[in-house]
Amino acid sequence: MSAVPALALLACLAAAALLADRTVTVAAITVLLLVVCLRAPRRRRWPYLVGTLVSAAFLFLLSPLLGSYGGAVLWEGPSVPVLGRLDVTDDELRYALFQALRLAAVGLAFAAYALLLDHDRLLQAAGRLRHSVLAVALATRLVPSLERDAAGMVEALRGRAVVVEGLRGRARLLSPLLAGSLERSLNLAESMEARGFGRPGRTRIPRPPWSLVERAAVLAGLLLVLGAVLWL
């Protein structure tokens, strides 16, 4: 499937997950998106999957402690200043699961966009939104390039008899990684300017029309959003 219908389908799935009222619907969308993300190479997919699933897990664990939605009390904890008494009820757990699945679905839709879509094709199809789409595409590349830089940095330091260990050791790399990425962005901006970016009258490579399957996929996505609003 080409990039634009695939993006439309992913956007529909994320929207349906946000609009649906039933946990089982959101869970089904989350599982579907997880399966899609697992098609990406293992080396590239792990930061996205870990980031999304850990965030969702945190939301699931913290939300019942901090929220208050009534229901049968399953556990009662100590009283904490500002937060008051900590407790977990069955309704809070259900609500936390629902919100965590929503977060996971949206995160996985973004992961699928970042990992599997051809951003160049999106850019070519962007028309007047070209500048914004390019900015999003470049920002999306930040995660893999930071990951690559971090691996290179750890290896270069090992070559200098410096061992990077533990969370503290890795945290020390954040500032140089950020400095490196800023330096790279400036070089890239210079290169783009020298290659005529931003000049009026640009053209684009002709792109093939959408196939029947692609049209059907986008239609199915829109129907899913409608269904999420009305019934799911």
């Binding site: 270069a156 200098r160 008899a161 300017e193």
Partner: protein, 450 residues
């Protein structure tokens, strides 16, 4: 006919208190290939940026004088408007790649210039073919090696069919055969300014030579006259080959590294192997071979940074490895602290190591404020300070000018007896200058033995 004219150009970057270019005047004629030489930080890249309009538009700073390209005053036209008339290939190919697929990357400039849609793909494909990268058309740019990226960057510039082509060390990541092939294509039938720190090939192809030092143009002369000037004033810029073989007697130092039939694969694709290599204390070995032959992987195996998929690695003593482009991997806020990192923060040792690489007095500078050549030397100090038994340097001369390379070669030779040294390089002149013998790796997946 003049393609470009520079009159009394003086330019200072916003963060600097001395001019990067000082009263530079010159003229570039149609079809002329001009070789731009000079030490690191001498103003070569700034001159190229001035011709592309990036100085002063992109960098700011104080600009006086006049630069005209194709009849347009660069102060009145932004770089994007000059694009097409001028095309630039910058030093680091990784930092100029915008898109994720090779075909889209080469088409990017053509689209920006408003090329007719039906012409874009054929022109992009033809440009890639011309630099021997036609097979990369559908590949993802993140998967390419540095040498392949360099070819794609050059193809992106050639696709624009510019009046003036500006090349800033365009072959620094290419093996000698690849570099020759690329320069032949780039320099045929157009006006080219070619800045090089491996000047042998550039000097063979140019019509004229410019030499910039401290921002001043010391030489602007036709090739023959320039060669005489270089021989008298800057002999390090002229090739002085000695024949390097794999057979030279290197004495009987104790063996420190032995790689026996080692192999290594990245995601199922063999990068090395099976290959064998032995290094003794007291010898300097140059590891050479075409792009993609696995030199870096073999060097990392020898340094103990990678575990071989097959074969055996024996390493006696402590190994240090200087990665390619070490300037990317600087982690401290001061130059001396960066070097001291490998010796538990011992600043006195760090300063001695900085003196060795002629960076004495740079202690308090921020590492990222240094030029690319200075960063390369900083990286070298950071590994030398650990006093390793096995020293492995991966392309240590990238961005380093010929005079500094000669000093580096002398430094390595003076300390050669203390250790075994392996230098991975595409720089044949440096390899011949520094090494006792060379080991050539064949194309990937072919067995290589030394």
């Amino acid at each position: 006919m003049a393609v470009a004219r520079i009159r009394q150009l003086t330019y200072r970057y916003p963060s600097s208190d001395r001019p990067a270019l000082d009263s530079v005047s010159l003229e570039l004629r149609a079809g002329e290939v001009v070789c731009l030489l000079g030490p690191s930080g001498g103003g070569k890249s700034t001159l190229l940026r001035a011709l592309a309009g990036l100085v002063p538009h992109f960098h700011g700073g104080v600009f006086s004088g006049r630069v005209e390209v194709g009849g347009t005053d660069t102060r009145r036209a932004r770089p994007a408007e000059l694009a097409g008339t001028v095309a630039s290939v910058f030093q680091d190919p990784e930092d100029q790649v915008v898109l994720t697929r090779v075909d889209a990357e080469v088409a990017f400039g053509l689209e920006n210039l408003g090329t007719a849609p039906h012409e874009i793909q054929p022109r992009a494909a033809a440009a890639l073919d011309s630099v021997g990268a036609g097979h990369l058309l559908e590949r993802r740019t993140q998967e390419l090696s540095a040498g392949e990226l360099q070819r794609v960057s050059i193809a992106s510039a050639l696709a624009l069919d510019p009046l003036l082509l500006l090349l800033d060390e365009p072959t620094s990541q290419l093996d000698p055969e690849g570099a020759e092939e690329i320069l032949d294509v780039a320099c045929s039938g157009r006006t080219v300014v070619l800045s090089e720190q491996r000047p042998t090939l550039a000097l063979e192809r140019c019509d004229r030579v410019l030499f910039l030092e401290g921002g001043r143009l010391l030489l602007d002369a036709p090739r023959c006259e320039a060669l005489e000037w270089l021989a008298e004033h800057r002999p390090a810029y002229l090739p002085q080959f000695r024949v390097l073989t794999g057979e030279e007697d290197v004495g009987s130092g104790e063996p420190l590294v032995r790689l026996e039939h080692v192999s290594y694969a990245y995601g199922g694709r063999y990068a090395v192997g099976p290959a064998s290599l032995a290094l003794r204390r007291g010898e300097i070995v140059a590891l050479v071979g075409p792009n993609g032959s696995g030199k870096t992987t073999l060097a990392k195996l020898a340094a103990g940074l990678l575990e071989p998929a097959g074969g055996e690695v024996q390493l006696r003593g402590r190994a240090a490895y200087l990665s390619q482009d070490p300037g990317r991997y600087l982690v401290c806020e001061r130059v001396d602290e960066e070097v001291a990192l490998g010796v538990g923060g011992d600043l006195a040792r760090a300063r001695r190591a900085l003196d060795l690489v002629h960076l004495g007095g740079y202690d308090a500078r921020h590492p990222r404020d240094l030029s690319s050549g200075e960063r390369e030397r900083l990286g070298l100090a950071a590994v030398l300070v650990t006093e390793p038994d096995v020293l492995i340097l991966d392309e240590p001369t990238r961005g380093v000018d010929p005079e500094r390379k000669a000093l580096l070669a002398r430094l390595l030779r003076e300390n050669a007896a203390r250790r075994a040294t392996l230098v991975v390089t595409h720089d044949q002149v440096f390899a011949a200058d520094v090494a006792d013998r060379s080991v050539t790796l064949g194309a990937a997946r072919e067995p290589a033995h030394a």
